[in-house]
Chain length 386, copies 4
């Protein structure tokens, strides 16, 4: 590989710097609107989720940062922090569902009813307090606001309320170094319109709120045909990429294991991340981006699926690190269409298993993560976990 | 209108012949994978659903046929039949969910495990027994079978099992006059592939099964860009259109009120139905098609939303009946592109409120269905229903 | 209608203020990549296009403003101005194709090659000179820049060049009151990525350029599932909606007659325009938005199709004006989901033919525009036009 | 690889049996509806296209079969046959455009006007005569029939005409062993509906016509979210898969180099082909499927892009051959969701460059096809070809 102009040591170093956030909700029951198929040993509280997350880290070498979900991870936060830190793990982005109550059927932060907006803001502020309590560094704000039928909402009025409510939360950050990430989503659970439907809208709010407000890019939240890698490059340029929600999808927001439906898309996105890191102008903002997994395993064994999620991300990232950037840039400048593509494909077509094996070995991890885990004691015993 | 070559009396007669099936599940709690917002007075059993359905019929003049759902409407079927017939109502198509158990996580009728295929077939046969017990005329077979990740399923093997299992159910019909409708769906709850993803696959099974096997067209189960009206015309030609699941959608299978997101699409589809009815070659097969509503009101008041569903369908159907078919045919034969379109648009642009008011008056119904219902005693008292 | 709280006289007044821009290219041969089917009498120069446009205006009462296209309408601009003004017509937005030369295969304003960027900028400046020469008020900037294969372009570098080049053009406006509208497009003719793929990107450039830079919304340039009405409301809020390119489409950017595939979408969009006009905060910016038609009649008779384009827009706009805004607002504030929808649908379901007939009569136009035109002498003779 | 249960020699043997058809039109100017960018040395007649195709074969080891296009390749067919056979090359599927004349604006085989239907049938019969004259084995029938506006066509009437006309062509095959492949396409150049929009419709016609009628699957002709691999498996099961038109696409039918936008999709499709070949029940029908490339290089250097098209297909096919089918089947039968996926991914993640290098070496081809070609004399001189 060195012959191809690839800096393998750089790749190994950067793999070590890669922080992958693992979602606590990936270890518990989740399903579709039709049914939720339970699995034996599903985690039932935050502490069990941390135990599962630790396994992911142990076998893959990444995934040390666990993402809490409020309200699903409500618990004694002091104990939670001790538990996580005791394992040398850390807190990733805190995710929120602000709508778990009949009051929120017709909106949360942008509801026509002031009482409900205030009730939501209180929940949001509680979440920020949890961020501070556990020592996390970022919060992900996602709302269900939107409408199901034309005429239901006054787009413009709702936009004003949304901004006002988001600003209330933003102010609560105070001087803390917390990233306030606004997540967009094309559809679901609202079907006619979503208040924050695309990156342009999320960026609109992030700009109005201030420097700590950024954008979360969830791979499954785009319309068909959207070039997500291009959006990522734009948000890096603007210093406004806050975090990823990595997953894969086919028709909807399917929250599948990243890299299973379209592995090339994941590579193209990670390639923009690497480009951002290697450019001194954007290195700092790119380094701060939280690479979070956001999956929902309806039928897959959960810890195993999370391990594959991390492995697939490592594969994509490793390939992105193997792109000969000097050569790529040269060919792009020369308008050498196919030559530039081949430069990218040389990296994509590389089998990075040996590289990842080497990288894991340097950290004391032997064997293939998935295979090792399924033959582990933890895996066998987890089925009987109460 | 008569001046335009429209046969208004024919329209009035056909409106009376229009049978709209109303889904029992539309009157109870339903939601998205994120949350289900409950509403006061939600129906909790089949008998309450019949009561709600009766109101829809009372105020709109259609919707006399209620669709049962198994297992959600499990009850004393003899009592159910008496209750429905006592109200001069009837049973529409029976709908099935065959997968409400952890055993079905990885498939039902096409599961790799024989035990589970047999368990599903038993459920299907039970549903057919219910069809016979209540005196319904058709069953809708929809399965969740499919996969979430490439490699999970052997497409071809699963197809064989699906056919075998469907055939087991089909044989149970015996000599009864029951339509065995196969429903297709592009995605959800399976995300990588669905066993019966499109009309072509549903027709494949319906052909192999026999004359009583037909296809259910759910408006929300198509890929973007699909011309549903064209599919309807094809299935009518083949004598294989069994039923509709009418609703509306934007990005996914949103199960919204028909005619709210794209009312023209609903009109174009109903226009194919009317064309089928007016053609002696296809009149009989078209007359048997069940026009069922399939909606899921996550946030809308439920009886009200069902009334609007029926009204929107009546509007679309009335407009379709007002198309001057002689003139349309002539212009189509003349390759008069814009003239033919204008002929269709003349009907679409007509305000059919007076026609529907006249039609309802002839049946003793006064006033606008939605307005009348929301000021009714039933509506007020329903909120307190236990 | 007055009984419903609708201000009919306001509607008639606003219909008179509605300026619809008509594209010169709609009267000449256009096709798909597979073939262009010619029609007898197709306009072959700008002056013939003005003649055709005049007919549209004559029969519909709108469409007095013709949009030039450079290079297709290259001519003696002084003579062109006299010809147009002599007919009491005016110049709408000037549209540009900057890439009609093999040099532009790999990009125009953002090409890696400086020489080609400069060549494109020169073309853009020429277009602005034409704007000034004919007395138009706005220019539409659309580029083909993008890539067909991953790796071909460095997104971030190209973005910088695009901004630099656009700024060169912008500076050439000087003190003139010219709107510099940036058009976005999801795909085609570039297939992997488009430099300006969505409204968020167009707004990004418009903000960096200055107050005279705005965004053009072409209805066919969105991904499936996009709520265009919501985007329109956002751009109005930001004072950045420059113009429309109105048309209709199904799967691609089909440039069909507006309101033929999804008439409700057109209504929903125009309803946001009316909302913007009736709000004192946004009235001024909304009044300046150019409602341009952008259609490409591959098989339709061209003048007739343009007449229907204008009529369909008039229908949508008239319906939007009939919405009882006070009632709508009240219901939206009350979270009355279905009531708000019904308020909108009351207007949509209205047959506005009588209103438009009345409006046309007040301006001395008798009869249905399409029918009148096809029986006119002009229509008959046009076929023999050389 | 052998250790993983992969039969490498089988893979090498099957690579030698792989027949890739190369489209003559890929070597000449092609573009979008906006512009066609010419390239120096573009082939201007069939003989030059054969020369180019020979280079593809020479450097990749596949692509010996050239697909003619009528009318673009009209020539002295006897001379053409001698030229091709003189180079030890062969004729792949003959492709047709039946609509290159203003008469066909409103349809070809299903036109309302009998004269035009007959004119089209005559063209189709001419194409079949060419198939016989050059000794090709299959014809691809693709029509533009469809409509651009609702009401334009009577779906059902047009379907009858389409069938009648297709049958006229089919009868002309006589006793010859010619595959009559019906191609479907979601949209373009018709925008509201296409007569043959999906595989279900193509199969409908193929069934009615007879055994020699089959279906062509063009990767770019599907709606978003369609699982093409599943369709392929269905058509193999039915013995009705006639040919592929391999390419890649993002939003429309972009005709890009196969495997550049979504290489995994190509692999998944080829994996179904390999599954069909290895199953004795379907081996024969699968072996007859024509793997044709159908690309349109708007901006890419043409011979180079065709070489990459063949290489990408070889990569996908080689990976598909490396799947451990025994293990995959076992895991699928065990409902081992992730294990089955990992089995597939093991093959996909393999770098097959060494395998392809070995395979080419066995045939006397040294070096990377793309790199070798661009430094060849042919490549340099082609630019000056008149």
């Amino acid at each position: 590989m060195e012959d191809r102009g690839v800096d393998v040591e750089l790749a190994l170093r950067e793999l070590s710097k890669l922080v992958i956030e693992v979602p606590s909700w990936g270890f518990s029951n989740s399903g579709t609107r039709f049914y939720s198929f339970g699995q034996k040993g599903d985690a039932t509280d935050f502490f069990q989720r941390v135990d599962d997350c630790e396994q992911v880290w142990k076998y893959t070498g990444n995934g040390r940062d666990i993402c809490m979900h409020i309200p699903w991870d409500e618990c004694d936060f002091k104990a939670a922090r001790q538990y996580v830190e005791g394992k040398k793990m850390a807190f990733g982005t805190l995710n929120t569902n602000l709508f778990q109550d009949n009051d929120f059927a017709l909106g949360t932060l942008a509801n026509s009813e002031r009482r409900i907006r205030e009730k939501t803001i209180a929940k949001l502020i509680h979440c920020l307090d949890v961020v501070k309590a556990v020592g996390a560094k970022s919060i992900n704000v996602w709302t269900i606001d939107g409408s199901n039928i034309p005429g239901q909402n006054d787009f413009r009025q709702r936009r004003k309320w949304m901004l006002e409510s988001l600003a209330e939360g933003y102010r609560h950050i105070g001087d803390d170094d917390i990233s306030y990430n606004i997540e967009y989503k094309l559809f679901e659970p609202s079907f006619y319109h979503n208040e924050i439907a695309d990156w342009g809208t999320a960026l609109y709010y992030a700009r109005k709120l201030g420097d700590k407000a950024k954008v979360t890019v969830d791979l499954g939240h785009h319309a068909f045909g959207t070039n997500v890698a291009q959006i990522v490059s734009m948000l890096i340029d603007e210093g406004k990429l806050g975090a990823f929600h990595l997953n894969d999808n086919n028709c909807g927001d399917d929250d599948l294991i990243p890299g299973t439906i379209n592995p090339f898309r994941l590579f193209a996105i990670e390639s923009e991340m690497v480009a951002g890191l290697l450019d001194p102008e954007t290195e700092e903002v790119t380094r701060k981006v939280r690479q979070g997994i956001d999956t929902s395993f309806c039928i897959e064994p959960r810890v195993e699926a999370m391990i594959l999620s991390v492995v697939n991300l490592q594969i994509a990232y490793a390939k992105a690190l193997l792109v000969n950037r000097t050569e790529l840039k040269k060919r792009q400048m020369d308008n050498d269409v196919l030559g530039a593509n081949q430069c990218l494909m040389d990296a994509y077509n590389t089998d990075v298993t040996p590289l990842l094996t080497e990288w894991r070995a340097r950290q004391g991890i032997e064997g293939d993560p998935y295979t090792s885990y399924i033959s582990s004691e933890y895996c066998k015993k987890r089925k009987d976990r109460a």
